[in-house]
Symmetry: C2
Subunit: 353 residues, 2 copies
């Protein structure tokens, strides 16, 4: 690997000058700079990142710790993070599959000296606090923490309000027995969405019941499996709120196989508004969340505290979740819709606005 010294020798200058050229320092003669660029090009030289960050103690890199990488949700978060990061000329050091605080802390340690700050998604309750105890000193931003952590920024999704609005909509449509398919035990998003479901029921004076809260794990299969429990409940529910769209899709598949009409016999609402939601039969009513934006905001917050202006005060942001109405909830019958607009034209974007 060629070093700055090789380039200096080839260009007949000192290493200080080469360094200046590569850092855009204007106090270098034009012809000298040209000679340096030539030599560097010839030797295929580029400054060594590790050495550079050792002296400057800046890395142009953000560490990202996620509990998992499976599914649309994480992929969108990363996409948002990457977008915002590359705009600021930062790179991303990624590590996932961190179940508990101990693993997170270990991974964060391993990143020491390689990152300027950390974005940590703590999907289980209490994780953020535990992690913060160990990692308190460095700049970090939490994604979707259970509570507002002290002394650091966080950005989260208003899962609770989203869940509530979905179920309130079902109630407004006249449903009185409404089931839900839960997310994984201990998962914050899942618990918050469940909380929104319960809030809505309570708000309407409807009673919650364990047999209406079916277990799930955010996979399509869980949705499929939930159908039997759904149909076995007494009294039988007329609507169901799935904690995410993958499970809602599973529900639709399972209900179709079981011969239950949607929304006629069973209204279905999901959460996330994934791309294929409008391609399902019937098109899935879902709670839209801009997950990509979640990632972008996290980066933004982190860069604020990392930035040259010194650490900004920590902030807390909450992203809204909005109900997107389609046919699976029963509030719009398909025939009411202008057929042409849903055809091959721009209908695809219509409910995306």
């Amino acid at each position: 690997m060629t070093t700055i010294r090789d380039v200096a020798r080839a260009a007949g200058v000192s290493i200080a000058t080469v360094s200046r050229v590569f850092n855009g320092n204007p106090r270098v003669g034009e012809d000298t700079a040209l000679r340096v660029w030539d030599a560097a090009g010839e030797l295929d030289y580029w400054p060594n990142g590790a050495a550079r960050s050792l002296t400057t103690s800046r890395t142009q890199t953000l560490g990202v710790l996620l509990p998992d990488l499976y599914g649309d949700f994480f992929s969108e978060v990363i996409r948002g993070i990457d977008q915002a990061a590359r705009r600021a000329h930062f790179q991303i050091l990624l590590s996932s599959s961190h179940a508990d605080p101990i693993e997170i802390v270990a991974a964060a340690r391993a990143m020491r000296g390689r990152v300027d700050g950390l974005i940590i998604m703590a999907s289980d309750r209490g994780t953020a606090e535990a992690v913060l105890g160990f990692l308190g000193r460095q700049p970090l931003v939490f994604l979707n923490p259970y509570l507002d952590p002290d002394g650091c920024s966080a950005v989260s999704i208003d899962n609770r309000a989203g869940g509530r609005s979905a179920v309130e909509h079902l109630i407004a449509l006249g449903h009185r027995v409404i089931a839900t398919v839960r997310g994984p035990e201990g998962n914050i998003d899942a618990e918050e969405r469940l909380g929104g479901y319960r809030d809505a029921l309570a708000g309407a004076g409807l009673s919650a019941s364990p047999q209406l809260e079916l277990p799930g794990d955010f996979t399509e299969t869980a949705g499929f499996r939930a159908v039997s429990g759904l149909l076995a409940a007494v009294p039988r529910p007329t609507a169901v709120f799935a904690a995410n769209d993958a499970m809602a899709a599973g529900l639709l598949g399972g209900l179709r196989d079981a011969g239950v009409a949607v929304p006629g016999e069973m209204a279905v609402v999901g959460f996330d508004d994934i791309g294929v939601a409008r391609c399902l039969t019937p098109p899935l009513t879902s709670v839209r969340v801009d997950v990509c934006e979640l990632g972008r905001r996290a980066v933004q917050l982190l860069l604020e505290t990392v930035g040259p202006d010194g650490p900004a005060p920590c902030r807390r942001e909450v992203l809204p979740a909005r109900l997107v109405l389609r046919e699976s909830c029963g509030c719009r019958s398909r025939t009411e819709l202008p057929v042409l607009a849903r055809g091959a034209g721009d209908s695809g974007e219509r409910d995306r606005i």
Copy 2:
């Protein structure tokens, strides 16, 4: 930030000893090691990664360059990469949205000194070769290159065979006019799948036609939009092969809205076999690809060349693509299937085996 010197002072030893302790060097007295661990714990010390890689010239990090991060495909690739990497105690430095070779090379340069090797996904034809010209010296693995690049490993998906098997199946079912919805212009996967489509037609003595090759860009919306072209073609096709499942889902949605029965009036086959494929109506026949494995293999190949055994000879791997039959192609009618097995039980996994 506390350094090795602080720990050495606190523990009353030299920095060499502290370094030995943290690297598991056995030639350190037990009580000394204990004192060092204590001091390190007290001061919350962990070795600085940048400094470490500067001396050892190893980073325990793999660079990953992708053209994009949108959709199931990339998210699965990254998941596979992350899985294999963390098993080998490597981290991932990620950078995406690289449209052309120039950007890729720039991003790769910026990673110099921070990674031990690179995994590059060059989704456009010719990109791999162009990149290789600039980055030839360092260890790298290509994902899905257009041609086998010289002098480096690559792993790819057998898109062509997958596309061919899908269309051959439709032909075997008696279809004679078969359309396709293409992926993005210039995209390798898209072109290969299209190639498979044409191979199958040619193999059966059927003629290809531009009006049967509808444009698309791998999004659901593209599938929706393709419906009008599909129905306008003369003679009207009785089957369509979509270059990915997102577009196939869009097709199903659009065909449903247009009142065209699937598979009765129009058989549909997709590619990727995403999770919701079996939740669509009708369940989507698709070509299964283990994208996660693609990522895992790439890491494996890269670690072979990076590893302590010195650079292994470069290898080329091709992952198979297998047709998964469901109802949208018309070869299985829903009523023929055992209803119970497709109910709430294990049916979800049935066609996943």
